[in-house]
């Protein structure tokens, strides 16, 4: 209870009020917690207006035939479940859903996560010079604005780009990566771009592991891998789940990288859900349909969020 500061204007009520709210009566406690909640107001207003608002709007808009131009733009009509029925029968939807799952798993959960953890573990024991070279290059890719990263990756994978030039140097056949393997290109690009985040999360987490614990494990004879799996990983368990949550959701949101590199093509072969929603709403002018896709994406995001919240359990530590 030392963690509870004295209230402003504390003279009005005895200090016991903080300790025994039940005895102090309901009204003063309620008033106090109301006053304490005042600093929350700006955040709550912003979140209600621009986060909750669009979510509600999304659900509402998905039941209309809103369009970019024409009469349905200014005066959308309620069409019930039509957009969702169209979604179920649209063969492009399962395609986009599947590509999104592939993109999430390969680029975030496997690529960024494991590469980030590996880099954090290896750099922890590496000479300082090596560590700073790694940190500089990996983090620069992450700090760059997304559109710049996308241009750099576009150039790297394009038919006359760096990758093909390197392949030519070892006498391998050049491949038109962005057309032949668009998913591989955008997955690698997203790993290149996002790994720094995981690396930094894990570096911070490893720094927090008390050296006594790893030393104790060394004394007990635990080798490198054993120490990693039985000591280090459990110690940074929270960071792992936080990191997985954040990179999964960041990757679910990736639009610019794919939009610039492949525009979702060729032939929708790299059209993840964000690209799909954009193309339907702004390319074909079907805003209502695009909103239905957005609502599905929000649902997916919501499911992930709830899953990870269950792992994290905020407030348990306070």
């Amino acid at each position: 209870m030392t963690a509870t500061p004295t209230r402003t204007g504390g003279a009005r009520r005895p200090p016991q009020a903080a300790r025994r709210p039940a005895a102090a009566g309901r009204t003063p406690t309620a008033r106090r917690s109301l006053r304490r909640a005042v600093p929350l107001v700006p955040a709550v207003v912003l979140l209600a207006l621009f986060m909750l608002g669009p979510v509600i709007w999304s659900v509402y808009g998905s039941f209309t035939n809103a369009s970019l131009s024409g009469t349905a733009a200014s005066n959308p009509r309620f069409v019930g479940l039509d957009n969702y029925l169209a979604l179920i029968t649209d063969p492009d939807f399962p395609n986009a859903l599947w590509l999104t799952v592939v993109f999430l798993l390969l680029s975030a959960v496997i690529g960024q996560n494991f590469l980030g953890l590996g880099l954090a573990l290896l750099t922890a024991a590496a000479p300082k010079a090596v560590r700073s070279v790694v940190a500089t290059t990996v983090v620069t890719a992450w700090v760059l604005p997304e559109i710049v990263a996308a241009f750099a990756c576009y150039a790297f994978f394009s038919s006359d780009g760096t990758l093909n030039r390197m392949l030519a140097a070892v006498n391998a056949e050049p491949v038109d990566w962005l057309f032949t393997y668009p998913m591989a290109a955008v997955i690698l690009a997203n790993i290149w771009r996002g790994t720094a985040f995981s690396m930094m999360i894990y570096e911070a987490a490893l720094n927090d592991v008390a050296p006594e614990i790893t030393e104790a494990a060394v004394i007990d004879g635990a080798g490198g891998w054993k120490r990693l799996i039985y000591v280090t990983v459990p110690m940074i368990r929270n960071s792992i789940s936080t990191n997985l949550m954040l990179i999964t959701l960041q990757t679910l949101s990736v639009f610019t990288l794919i939009f610039v590199m492949t525009s979702g093509g060729p032939n929708q072969r790299s059209t993840t859900l964000p690209i799909f929603a954009y193309a339907e709403a702004f390319g074909l002018g079907k805003v209502g349909y695009g909103t239905a896709i957005a609502t599905v994406m929000l649902l997916i995001g919501a499911v992930f969020s709830i899953l990870y919240i269950r792992v994290l359990k905020p407030g348990d530590n306070s």
Binding site: T4, P39, A43, F50, M51, V133, T137, I147, L249, S305
Partner: protein, 280 residues
């Protein structure tokens, strides 16, 4: 680890891990090196090449007010506005969440955490039609507020965690001196968590600076567009012929966030004072 640092097996494995690390770094470097070298090469292609002659011609070609300076200024307005709003709202919100055991803490934090999970790009189609209906399309201020709201869940979460690590014992002295909660926040907590706040500010600023999709959808006028959108519009048309200019503009646009990032990481390294304050 420290006990066995001198053993030969240890140094061999250190050598191997250094080699692996440098190889990974080289892979990460290739696209970055292209940006740098292409920007200095008037005959740049999509491939990494050593320029036949180094030249700043690409930079002088793109350094015109309408192509670079205005868009960069627009980027700055949007990102700084967004970051200031976000940090202020996040610090205020984090204080009661971190310091009081209130009934709303848990639901609020769950809500915030849930908010971090919502894919913002997914929301852009409904946000667009919402902005159309509210007549806010093409309004820089509203777009900054929207961007602040989207970064707020993350910022509140980070700020609360930073604030939790500021020991309450330091604040108690201020309370005993009769300082109000808001005063204690301003004079004790905020100075102690400056590094943390810098992280949050930079995090939000860099995200906003690099954001392409939100202004791309919500801003219409060319003269309001941040650099991310103008570079896309311009080089979307000429990109294949002007790789050198593309790279030069990209660098000019990236340098502010890189500098900011370096400044903050150096600053943070030197001033993690919290632990020292409580022990000393």
């Amino acid at each position: 680890m420290t006990t066995s640092i001198a053993s030969p097996r240890r140094s061999v494995s250190r050598g191997v891990s250094s080699a692996v690390l440098l190889a990974i770094a080289a892979c990460f470097l290739l696209p970055l090196a292209w940006l740098l070298l292409a920007s200095l090469d008037t005959k740049a292609t999509a491939s990494l090449n050593l320029p036949a002659e180094f030249s700043l011609a690409n930079f002088s070609a793109v350094l015109t007010p309408e192509q670079t300076l205005w868009p960069l200024w627009n980027s700055f307005l949007l990102s700084a506005g967004c970051a200031v709003i976000t940090v202020l709202a996040a610090v205020l919100a984090a204080y009661p969440l971190s310091r009081y055991q209130a009934r709303y803490n848990k639901p609020f934090l769950y809500g915030v955490l849930f908010g971090t999970g919502l894919p913002i790009t997914a929301m852009m189609v409904p946000v667009y039609s919402m902005f159309v209906r509210l007549g806010q399309l093409d309004s820089v201020a509203t777009v900054a507020l929207f961007m602040a709201a989207t970064s707020l869940p993350m910022a509140i979460w980070m700020t609360k965690n930073f604030m939790d690590s500021v020991p309450v014992s330091l604040e108690e002295a201020a309370w005993i001196d009769g300082a109000s909660a808001m005063r204690a926040l301003r004079t004790v907590v905020v100075p102690l968590m400056r590094p943390g706040l810098a992280v949050v500010f930079i995090f939000v600023f860099i995200q906003a600076w690099g954001n392409f999709f939100i202004p791309f959808i919500l801003l219409l006028s060319n003269h309001k567009q941040p650099a991310a959108v103008t570079v896309f519009n311009f080089f979307g048309q000429y990109g294949s012929v002007a790789y050198g200019q593309l790279a030069a503009f990209s660098l000019l646009y990236s340098i502010p966030v890189i500098v900011l990032y370096i400044l903050v990481t150096k600053g943070i390294g030197g001033s993690f004072a919290t632990a020292g304050a409580i022990k000393g």
